[in-house]
Amino acid sequence: MPKWGMVIDLEKCVGCQACTVACGMENNRLPGEHWQDVIFFTEGEYPNTQTKWFPRPCMHCENPSCVAVCPTRATYKTEEGFVLVDWNRCIGCKYCMIACPYGVRFYTEEKAAYGGPNMKEVFPADDSHSWNPPWKMPDAREDWKHGVGVQPHDVVSKCTFCHHRVTKAPPGTADLDPQDPKTREFTPACVVTCAPGARFFGDLSNPDSQVNKLIANKNGVRLLDHLGNKPQVYYLTGEGGSVPSGRALKKS
C-alpha cells in the first residue's frame, strides 16, 4: 500500500502560480477557491526586507485534525494517505475549516471572490451541482465520495492530491514523474505543470522513492511541525528558500 506524499523544492520554485491555475483547470475550481495556492510573505523590516513565497496544497497530514473533528466522518483519511471529503455526507458545519492549521479548506457558498463576477450565476447548474463550468472534467471522473469534480451546494472542498489521477497508477509505483511518459498521466496536475520542476510526488513508504531521498538528503521540513499534524507535504528550503515559522503576519 503506497503512502503518497509531495516534496516542494523552494530553491527551484519561482512563484509563477502555474500550479494554482493547473489545479483550478483540472479540478474545476471557482476563482478564489485555490486548493493549491501560492502564499507570499514578507520578512524583515524596511529597508531590510525580503519577499518570499511557498506553494501550499493540502498537507494530507498523517494526523489530520480535520478528520478528527468532522462529526459525520465526511472527512476521512484513506490507507494510501489521501485526506478527502465525501460530499454526500458533508453537512457544511465548517468545523474542519476551523481545525485545519493550514487554511486549505473552502466552503462552497460564499460571495464571489475579487468582487465578482459570480461564476455560479454566470454558469448556473440545472442539477444538484453548485455551478456548471464551461469546461470541466468528464462526468465519468467525477466522484463525490472522494470530493472530486464540481461540488454540490453547501459542502466543504479541498485538494485531493488529484485522487482521480494518482489512484490509477500501477501498483508498486515509487514515484510519479511527469517526465516519464509511463507515469505522467497519473501525476497530480500541479506537479505536471510545474515549469521549473520544483515539485515531486511519490510513495513515502518506499525507501527507494525519489521523494524519500530528497527529504533525507536535502533536509525536508514540514509546515508548523510543532502542532503534530505531521504533513505528508515536505519543503526543501536549501539556501534560497524558506517557510515561515508561524502563520501570522506580524505588524509589530
Binding site: A68, P71, T72, M97, I98, Y102, R105, S245, K251
Partner: protein, 428 residues
C-alpha cells in the same frame, strides 16, 4: 356567557380545551383569542405577539435570503472568519439554556429551597432557549437535515461536536421529562429527583463539551485549553441567572405586587442578588485574566487579543455590562430594587451576547496561513441575514416563553401549607 378554562394538566386536556374553544368560538374568534393569548390582555400576551411578529419577520427574511443567495448571504469566508455571528448566537442561547438548568438545580438538586418559586420557570425557559439556539444553528448549517442521519451513522467519537450533539440531545430529553413531571406537580418523587440530578449532570457535560468544541483547537490558540470549558460552564450560569431575573419581572409587568406569595418574597430577598453578583464577579475575573494572558504572550496566533482589547465593545462589556451590575447587586441601596435588578439583568445579557461574539469571532481574527493575501487581521461584520438569525432566536424565545407562561403555571412551587391559587385563561 362566561366560560372558564382551567389550566391543562396533561396533553389530553391541552388539546381538549383547544378543541372546545374552537367549537365554541369559531375559527376567526379562536385565532383572535390565540393571538391575544387568552381573552384578556396580559404581559404574556404582549410577549407572545412581540415574539411571533419578530420571529415571522426574521425567519421569513432569512429564509428568503437563503433560498435566493444561499449561505453566501453570510459575511463569513473561507479565507477569513469561518464561524460568524450565527454560531455566536447559538452558543449564547445554548449556554443560556444550560445556565437556566443550573439555576433550577439549586433548589431541585442542591437543596436551596428558597429558589423553588423559579425552578419550573427555569426549566421551561431552558427548553425554550435550547430550541431557539438549535433553530439558529439549523439555519447556519449547510445541510441540517442530512445531519440527522450523518452524525448518528458516522459515530465520530473523536469529534467534540459529536459529543456536544449527544449531550445537548440528552439534556433536551431530560428537561422535557422533568418539565412534564413538574407539570404533574411531581416535585418530590424519587423519579423526579433522579431526573433532576441526571439533568444537572447532562447540562454540565453539554456546556463543558460546547467549550471543548473551541478549547480542543490547538491551532486556534485564542481558544485552546481546558479553561474554555470551565469558562463556558460558569458564564452559562451567569447568563441563566440574568435570563431568569428578567423573565420573572417581564411576566409580572415589572411589578412585585402582582407576584404570588412565595415568588414575591424570593424576589424581595437578598439571596437572588447575592447569587447574581457572585456569578458576575467570577465572570469578570475570567474575562480579565484571559485578556491578560492573551496580551502578555508572544505566541503566534494570539495577536487577536490586541485587537479585542482595543475595541470599545470589550470595554463596554467589562465596565458597563459586568462591573456596573456587580456593584448594583452588591450595594445595599440598589440590590433589592426592581428597576436595578432588571437593568442589571439586561446589561449582563447584553454583555454575555457581546462576549460570545467576541470569543467566537475574535478567536478567528488571526488568518490561517494566508501570508500577504490577507493583511494583518481578518475583517468581519455580520450581514443582514446574520442579524436576522440572531433576532429570530430572540423571537422564538419570547413567544415560546409566553406560551409556557399562559399554559403551564410557571410560578408553581411545591405546596407549602395553602396551595397557591390556580390561574385561569378566562372569560369575557
Amino acid at each position: 356567557m362566561t366560560t372558564m378554562y382551567l389550566e391543562p394538566r396533561n396533553f389530553r386536556e391541552v388539546f381538549g380545551h383547544l378543541g372546545a374553544l374552537w367549537r365554541q368560538e369559531g375559527p376567526i374568534r379562536f385565532l383572535r383569542i390565540a393571538w391575544n393569548l387568552g381573552h384578556e390582555p396580559s404581559p404574556a400576551g404582549a410577549m407572545w405577539k412581540f415574539g411571533l411578529v419578530l420571529f415571522a419577520a426574521t425567519f421569513g427574511f432569512s429564509l428568503f435570503m437563503l433560498f435566493t443567495q444561499g449561505h453566501a448571504a453570510f459575511n463569513t469566508s473561507s479565507d477569513g472568519v469561518n464561524w460568524g455571528m450565527a454560531i455566536a448566537t447559538y452558543a449564547f442561547f445554548a449556554l443560556m439554556s444550560s445556565g437556566l438548568t443550573m439555576i433550577a438545580a439549586l433548589p431541585m438538586v442542591f437543596g436551596f429551597k428558597q429558589f423553588y418559586p423559579i425552578a419550573k420557570r427555569c426549566i421551561w425557559l431552558s427548553i425554550v432557549t435550547l430550541i431557539a439556539g438549535f433553530s439558529v444553528l439549523a439555519m447556519e448549517l449547510g445541510h441540517p437535515f442530512r445531519m440527522l442521519w450523518a452524525i448518528p451513522t458516522g459515530m465520530q467519537v473523536m469529534s467534540p461536536m459529536f459529543w456536544m450533539g449527544v449531550f445537548y440531545t440528552i439534556d433536551l430529553i431530560l428537561l422535557t421529562v422533568k418539565f412534564y413531571l413538574l407539570w404533574q406537580d411531581d416535585w418530590d418523587s424519587g423519579v423526579s429527583h433522579l431526573v433532576g440530578a441526571l439533568g444537572f449532570g447532562a447540562v454540565i457535560l453539554a456546556s463543558g463539551m460546547l467549550g471543548l468544541v473551541f478549547g480542543s483547537m490547538v491551532m486556534r490558540p485564542m481558544w485552546y485549553g481546558s479553561f474554555t470549558s470551565i469558562f463556558f460552564m460558569l458564564t452559562a450560569a451567569l447568563t441563566g441567572a440574568a435570563a431568569i431575573v428578567l423573565a420573572v419581572y417581564m411576566s409580572f409587568g415589572f411589578s412585585r405586587e402582582s407576584m404570588p406569595e412565595p415568588l414575591k418574597s424570593m424576589a424581595q430577598g437578598d439571596d437572588l442578588p447575592r447569587v447574581f453578583a457572585t456569578l458576575i464577579g467570577i465572570t469578570l475575573v475570567m474575562v480579565l485574566t484571559r485578556m491578560w494572558t492573551g496580551l502578555w504572550s508572544n505566541l503566534d496566533g494570539l495577536e487577536g487579543f490586541k485587537a479585542l482589547f482595543a475595541s470599545p465593545l470589550f470595554h463596554f462589556q467589562v465596565w458597563v455590562c459586568f462591573a456596573l451590575p456587580m456593584y448594583l447587586m452588591l450595594s445595599n441601596e440598589t440590590r433589592r430594587g426592581v428597576a436595578w435588578q432588571v437593568l442589571s439583568a439586561i446589561l449582563v445579557l447584553l454583555g454575555m451576547a457581546i462576549n460570545r461574539y467576541e470569543f467566537i469571532v475574535g478567536g478567528q481574527l488571526v488568518p490561517m496561513f494566508k501570508g500577504n493575501w490577507v493583511n494583518s487581521l481578518n475583517a468581519y461584520s455580520p450581514s443582514a441575514t446574520e442579524w436576522a438569525l440572531t433576532l429570530m432566536g430572540w423571537g422564538i424565545g419570547f413567544f415560546l416563553y409566553a406560551l409556557g407562561e399562559r399554559l403551564f403555571r410557571l410560578h408553581a412551587a411545591p405546596p407549602v401549607g395553602e396551595r397557591s391559587p390556580q390561574a385561569v385563561v378566562s372569560s369575557h
